[in-house]
């Protein structure tokens, strides 16, 4: 086991910086130098870190520091975790400094969700390159335990594998290894689904757009939060950064699904970034009598209106079955439903399964890694579990034939190789993933 007793977190006042610091200080029983631009920010980040694992006792292990002491901290650390702004020149400057002072045998990893690990690796000398790789955590790490690990061509496999064991057994991460491709696996699948939901919100703006799509893809489809609400939660700017990166740097069979709808750029331009700015795709207004009004951006009128309750019998039926634990009947009722909204729902679920399998085949070690990614990174039902819940490969293929609107589902499903056809037969317990809620 790697002896990681002292850690430097660079960019420790950010969300990931503070929460990963908490994780390492707590489960890793390590001393953590929390490096930020200013001392006050570092001190309050340390408080956030201790609270994120609900353990005040670890506070003494968290040492606030500034960039002035970067060399001092890094030279004493067994692991340096870089989690600064997603800006190549900022990262380059920091990497140059780390390169000079990283102690022999220690690790430098980045939490980047957007940049190529190989490209970032170029900032290091040959020696340090071998100890550099990606460790992509998810927010909040206390609840979402996914950590994607990505090697560069220069990464030493032994060090990388040792870190994998540490992340799994000491920090209790669910680790998957991916190739150095845009958005790796979890975000690649997740933001494909989310952006498609945005695109369909535009396509169906007359029917209601944003809240209409959220009603069709509610928790009863196997997710904790509806897709458009998730985008608001993540931040429209963060969503844009991710999908733009995938669009620019990859080209798979559903490349166009990553084109950001124009209205979103418009909202971003107005500073309406979602939950963090209290307005984005949704907005909550508190009335004088302390009651809340839930509003949504109406794409058709480019204005804001109250969120509607859509009457979707297919959804209500599924919820009724799920509430009493009749998962088979819920799947059967979806299969038999023929309304426009039911077909849209089926299209998205089949598209999710298809895209996940194809992408996992390309970037991960196995198809079931997609399930690990989506359950532990997004709190969504995994695609292989969903395939099982819908009755298996043949049933999903039949469903695909019914809803192949963009003519890219059936072909992809039919071309899954035998090895993966076997892998997707793995029985995965899907029951806790379906919420009996609209």
């Amino acid at each position: 086991m790697l002896g990681i007793k002292t850690v430097s977190v660079i960019g420790a006042n950010g969300t990931m910086g503070s929460t990963v610091s908490g994780l390492v200080a707590a489960f890793g029983d390590a001393k953590v130098f929390m490096i930020c631009r200013r001392t006050e920010a570092a001190a309050s980040a340390a408080d956030v870190a201790a609270n994120s694992v609900k353990a005040g006792a670890i506070r003494s292990r968290l040492i606030p520091a500034t960039y002035d002491s970067l060399e001092d901290c890094v030279s004493r650390s067994d692991w340096t975790f870089e989690t600064v702004a997603e800006d190549t020149s900022i990262k380059a400057d920091i990497y140059k400094r780390i390169d000079k002072c990283l102690k022999a045998g220690s690790i430098i990893s980045t939490g980047t969700s957007g940049f190529s690990i190989n490209k970032l690796s170029e900032n290091f000398s040959q020696k340090v390159k071998s100890s550099f790789f990606g460790t992509h955590f998810f927010n909040p790490p206390y609840n979402l335990t996914l950590c994607e690990m990505i090697r560069s061509e220069a990464t030493d496999k032994k060090i990388f594998d040792a870190m994998k064991v540490y992340l799994k057994e000491v920090l209790y991460r669910d680790v998957i290894e991916t190739t150095d491709t845009p958005a790796f696996l979890g975000n690649r699948i997740g933001f494909h689904f989310l952006n498609k939901a945005l695109q369909y919100a535009v396509r169906y703006k007359k029917e209601g757009g944003i809240d209409y799509m959220d009603a069709i893809l509610g928790p009863f489809t196997g997710r904790g939060m509806t897709p458009l609400a998730t985008i608001d939660f993540v931040g429209l700017d963060v969503h844009k950064a991710i999908v733009d990166n995938v669009l620019a740097n990859s080209c798979d069979y559903d490349h166009d699904a990553f084109i950001l709808p124009e209205f979103v750029s418009g909202l971003i331009g107005q500073g309406k970034l979602g939950l963090k700015t209290k307005e984005g795709l949704f907005k909550t207004v508190t009335n004088d009598d302390k009651t809340n009004q839930y509003l949504v951006y109406d794409i058709a009128s480019a204005g804001v209106r109250p969120v509607r309750k859509y009457n979707l019998p297919f959804a209500s039926q599924m919820v009724a079955h799920l509430a009493v634990g009749n998962y088979d009947m819920a799947a059967q009722s979806l299969k038999e439903a023929k309304s426009k909204e039911a077909l849209l729902c089926k299209h998205f679920l089949v598209s999710y399964i298809t895209y996940s399998i194809v992408t996992a085949q390309a970037v991960a070690e196995s198809v079931t890694d997609a399930d690990i990614a989506m359950t532990t990174g997004f709190n969504w039902i995994g695609p292989v579990a969903l395939l099982g819940a819908l009755g298996g490969y043949e049933e999903v293929l039949a469903m695909a034939k019914e809803v192949d609107f963009d003519k890219n589902l059936v072909d992809r499903l039919e071309s899954i190789d035998d090895k993966n056809k076997k892998a997707i037969r793995a029985p995965i317990d899907f029951r806790k993933s379906f919420r009996a809620k609209l």
Partner: protein, 420 residues
């Protein structure tokens, strides 16, 4: 008397919040019954066939679904969950947090008399249907409600805080050492839970430092000397076990490629009910060397019936609703003399690696405490350890294990010994 064998069982993932999932108790019961039947290779048709001969029955342990779920008549509820149970004799048994054990007790008795060949014992509780304050009030029904719980916010932490005080008064251990021993219990059970894939707290953080850091923002006082780290949590969950007669078990063994001698069976039991009101317990115990003499008596009864002693026990599953109750159990089990519990704890005797491990599953603190399910979950864990099916939290070579399941403030005390 007939030997009673344990053929298998299942439990739900105790980290789930079924209310957040939008599911009701039908969903929970359906899931646990489905999984239970799979665990012993029984189909609905098998149940119907057994019931034709009137040789199968069901026993349900649950504390207070009347409050949490607006539902009673819980034995009969199984007919709503699976039509295979039409005509199957069933009933619900209740003894607060020992409801699971009294359901097991009735089931075992019916196998012993030869009335049934195989029985299904399900324990469940769905507690997150209400907020924590109301939940605490519902749980107060396990105490003398009028005297000890009515108008008291979170009455049970206070009652077990009183147990900690009583232990200090009776044996006068050094307070710092005693509190450290309690923290060690909490830390151990959280650590053990990390290896249990169904434990509620398996992803939660705890350390010796944090457990000793009482009365702070992240470890608030809950009652007397106890803090949050000393408490088990509110849990949603269900557990099921199948018990059978020797003849049925032999047939089961043959059909499933097993040897009868490897199938765990119930070797002993004890059941004693102490004065309900805590103050009366203290008065009643004043001349006893034990702080909970009726708990100790139930354990003694179980050892006697089994013809075994503490030396024969390879592990224990005990009712650590609070660290003070596991503490008291250490001497009640016979691991130490009363008053010397901290010595065994300090020496690591009750750790996974010690020679008398307590709560390899994580116990109530680590695994969770869905009240009506706990007794059945304990029996399931006894079975798993003895049958070498405990996976990542297996105690190597476990041959005999004891469970202590208590209801209220150690009012109902139920003990089973399982072995092979």
């Amino acid at each position: 008397m007939q030997k009673v064998y344990i053929l298998g069982g299942s439990q739900t993932d105790f980290s789930r919040n079924w209310t957040k999932e939008g599911k009701n108790f039908f969903a929970m019961l359906k899931e646990i019954v489905d999984d239970g039947l799979k665990s012993v290779n029984l189909s609905g048709d098998d149940i119907v066939a057994l019931n034709k001969e009137n040789k199968i029955a069901a026993f349900v342990g649950n504390f207070v679904a009347e409050y949490y779920c607006n539902q009673s008549h819980l034995g009969a509820l199984l007919t709503e969950v699976n039509p295979a149970f039409y005509g199957v004799p069933s009933a619900r048994y209740e003894a607060a947090c020992a409801s699971g054990s009294v359901a097991l007790d009735a089931a075992i008795a019916k196998i012993r008399t030869g009335d049934y060949d195989i029985v299904m014992v399900v324990g469940f509780e769905m507690m997150k249907t209400v907020g924590s304050v109301i939940c605490g009030d519902y749980l107060g029904r396990a105490a003398n409600y009028e005297l000890e719980a009515k108008g008291v916010e979170f009455p049970f932490p206070k009652l077990f805080g009183k147990l900690a005080d009583t232990i200090l008064e009776k044996y006068k251990p050094e307070k710092k050492r005693f509190m450290a021993a309690l923290a060690s219990i909490a830390n151990k059970n959280y650590a053990n839970a990390k290896k249990n894939p169904n434990a509620q707290a398996r992803r939660w953080f705890m350390s010796s430092e944090q457990a000793n850091c009482r009365y702070t923002e992240t470890n608030a006082k809950v009652g007397g000397l106890l803090a949050l780290s000393d408490c088990s949590q509110i849990t949603d969950g269900a557990a099921v076990v199948f018990l059978a007669s020797k003849a049925y078990a032999a047939d089961f063994a043959k059909k499933n490629g097993l040897k009868l001698k490897d199938i765990p069976y119930v070797k002993g039991w004890g059941h004693r009910v102490a004065p309900m009101t805590y103050a009366k317990k203290v008065e009643d115990a004043k001349d006893s060397k034990y702080v909970l003499p009726w708990t100790a008596k139930a354990i003694e009864d179980a050892y006697k019936r089994a013809g075994l002693t503490v030396d024969d026990m390879d592990f224990f599953e005990t009712h650590d609703c609070f660290t003070s109750s596991e503490y008291a159990a250490v001497s009640a089990f016979g691991i130490t003399e009363p008053g010397k519990e901290y010595e065994a704890i300090e020496a690591g005797v009750t750790q996974m690696t010690g020679h008398k491990p307590i709560n390899p599953s994580g116990g109530l603190i680590g695994c969770g405490h869905p009240v009506g399910a706990t007794g059945v979950r304990m029996m399931l864990d006894l079975y798993k350890q003895v049958a070498a099916k405990a996976g990542s939290y297996q105690i190597k070579g476990a041959k005999n294990g004891m469970m202590l399941n208590i209801g209220g403030s150690a009012t109902t005390n139920f003990v089973f010994i399982v072995g092979k």
